[in-house]
Point group: C2
């Protein structure tokens, strides 16, 4: 390649900048230009609830590397630059600066699309009112934090009981607000089975949140352009502030308009090396489709861990190396008030959709030896396939020390382990850390016995 | 089988009583008699440091099930009964009651040997003095707790810097004693590589313990039959109380005398179903030899997790079921003062002894996102085989949240995973639990790059 080769990256967060940094390590000669529509690069979107809740005070703490930091690596990261068009015939991107409104136009030899997600905004009356916050980019979190600090809202309504919604519920409880979570489904956390999600719902109620379940939102009442209430079929929830946590969708419009093929999930289709179907065009992170190792189907997850791994793999391959992304399990963990919550693999609904027949086992145990101070409750649920006996997924809700246990299941799922094999794993034990039979082993054993 | 069939169990702790309970679930008709030389059944030996340190006040909390509890399961658990002879020709065991000195003699159809370990006592002058405590059975821990409560010793010397020794060091620091750990090797915790053991040694020093390393003990000074000092080649350590934590050896003398074959480790040889070479004689727990899944060699570990699993498997097979014990990894975790310490698989010395060529990778990272309150340091070391790239072992020392991460490596070792495969595992992430690249992934990636 000529030394004037240029990589353009669209999107300055985890996937895009991991790829850029990895490529830079391997190829000092390639010119790298990254365009980011927001004012920040490489930030921890997952940290926004802690910024709003006050555990983190300085938003800069959430930024892993700023444009100035990338400049030291000779990576030209241009913030407030919104790419509006990918011209594959001319090998150029075109767009507009969000600070001064001027347009830009940049050629590329190779392109990496890392445009992330867009938060879903319901097409409902009033949804554009002031006081309604989505959480897409770091700036959204900064604005919400400022609103809580300065406007002293009293009543918050969270629309959507997913991870972000519940983390925001906890954050706003911490700030002393009255918090109501409005969720269309019968339990919160739809990525868990309802029986497990209910445990999380109870923890939220115990912490003082109100949960309004089975209540799809039908609109927003506004007063002078500012939100005043969230309206559902059942009732009206007065609100000084509203946080939307309804989910995200892959931000693939730009790619689709350029003719880069998407997959069945609506995210950009890539191979294991993060190449799209268009020569010289790569994609990684929240905007791409992944392969689920258990269902063996395409899936879309928007998770920082996956984005970082895919970015690294794109960077290695762009740099002339060889790396393949094996796939995902949808592993996730979070802390909601007093409980830790985690899942990996398939939940019941997903397992059924993928055509599996399976048994489930759910056990209650303890996080430590019963006599050790600080011992708490833990509930573990396991799905295992009939016939093969293979583990399909696991979910955990429990006290401190519960959540990260999910990684043992994630590792076993990646290895295709059976419930029986899992139940005799030589896991570590000491009274401050576990009962002598770790709860994950008890759950797997119960599943093995049910098979 | 006739309804008068009788199983005799020698040893009333984890392995023996797990087997008895499992058998009872499957076979209500079999008569089960268990002989235990101490006064307690099914206790948590691992809990003794917390009893001595005062985190646990009532020794009964360490007993999972008493003889009265076993009686309800129609299991006849006879404490203070020391079996002194196994007569295989007559199918009888004979022994002496430790309470009243009377002898007993009991026939069996099948026998389970679960005699555990004996603490190593150095054959040194003065080693039988009062004030020197081994920690073999729960009663030893109760006696030590009472001595600390009532005799108010000021200076404690721990002989041996293994898990038990260091846990006791922490416990006695908690009780306000001056604590010195005397260790023959150059670092504490010989089941870790020296560079990792040194991190634990530093944590102990920071907590106020004195470490005297490279100092084999040569004897004990006594005064009026009570210990007064621990003597090494280098110096004399005055002591009001001494705790021996030099290790344990399989308690296999009874089996050997009866002609039950031992393995090369000196522990009883069993097959994967926990059968000895003698028809109708089974063995499980700390007195048997296990198969190391990584080195593929016989090993002896005295760990409650293994004992419980083996006991369960013996019980299933005794009950007419079918279960095989897959093997062990030597996974272990503990908390020593401010650090959590864990290991699984082979350390460098063991890997060399087993003929492996390997790379090591050691990384420093953090337990949580850098901005999340309570974040601490974690060091992870990984061994991976040259050629195959397979993981051979891992060691972790770090702040709260570090230790149980070892289970991810244990699972990967059981599955025969390579460092490269491991480095892309879809592990869970959220700021309260991990950086976006979990430290275990960073360590595996570094090992993969070194291969």
């Amino acid at each position: 390649m000529a030394s004037s080769e240029r990589l353009v990256v669209i999107g300055g967060d985890a996937a895009g900048m991991s790829a850029a940094s990895q490529l830079r390590r391997m190829r000092p000669d390639v010119e790298i230009v990254a365009f980011e529509r927001g004012p920040h690069t490489s930030y921890s979107a997952c940290g926004m609830p802690y910024l709003v809740g006050g555990l983190v005070d300085d938003p800069r703490a959430l930024v892993a590397r700023s444009p100035a930091g990338f400049a030291k690596l000779h990576i030209d990261a241009r913030v407030m630059h919104e790419v509006e068009e990918i011209d594959l015939a001319e090998r150029r991107v075109r767009g507009r600066r969000r600070d001064d409104g001027t347009s830009f136009d940049e050629g590329f030899d190779r392109l990496l699309v890392a445009t992330g997600t867009v938060p879903i905004r319901p097409p409902l009356p009033g949804s554009d009112a002031a006081g309604i916050y989505g959480l897409g980019i770091l700036d959204d979190g900064i604005r919400l934090r400022r609103a809580v600090d300065e406007e002293r809202p009293r009543r918050a309504v969270i629309v959507g009981g997913g991870y972000i919604g519940l983390e925001m519920a906890e954050a706003l409880l911490e700030r002393g607000l009255d918090v109501t979570v409005v969720e269309a489904a019968a339990t919160v956390l739809g990525t868990l089975d309802p029986d497990m999600g209910e445990l999380v719902g109870q923890a939220l109620r115990d912490a003082g949140a109100k949960l309004s379940l089975d209540e799809p939102v039908t609109g927003f009442e506004t007063r002078g352009g500012t939100v005043a209430a969230v309206v559902t079929a059942a009732r009206t929830h007065p609100a000084d502030i509203v946080v939307l946590g309804i989910g995200v969708r892959p931000n693939a419009a730009l790619a689709r308009a350029a003719g880069i093929p998407l997959g069945e999930t609506g995210a950009i289709k890539v191979n294991d090396r993060m190449q799209t179907a268009v020569d010289g065009v790569w994609a990684a992170g929240d905007c791409v489709e992944s392969f689920n190792l258990v269902s063996r189907r395409p899936v879309h997850f928007a998770l920082g861990t996956i984005a970082n791994k895919q970015g690294r793999i794109a960077g290695i391959n762009l740099g002339g190396g060889y790396a393949r992304f094996p796939g995902v399990l949808g592993s996730a963990v979070t802390k909601i008030c007093t409980v830790e919550v985690a899942r990996t693999g398939l939940q019941e609904r997903e397992a059924r959709a993928a055509g599996f027949e399976f048994v489930t086992a759910r056990i209650d145990s303890r996080t430590r030896s019963g006599y050790y101070p600080g011992v708490g409750k833990i509930t573990v649920k396991v799905l295992a396939e009939r016939g093969s006996g293979k583990l399909l997924g696991a979910q955990i809700v429990g006290a401190e020390g519960s959540g990260k246990r999910i990684d043992v299941f994630a590792t076993a799922l990646a290895a295709g382990m059976t419930a029986e094999e899992f139940s005799y794993l030589d896991l570590s034990y000491a009274p401050p850390f576990a009962p002598v039979w770790d709860p994950v082993l008890i759950a797997a054993r119960k599943a093995a016995e049910a098979l």
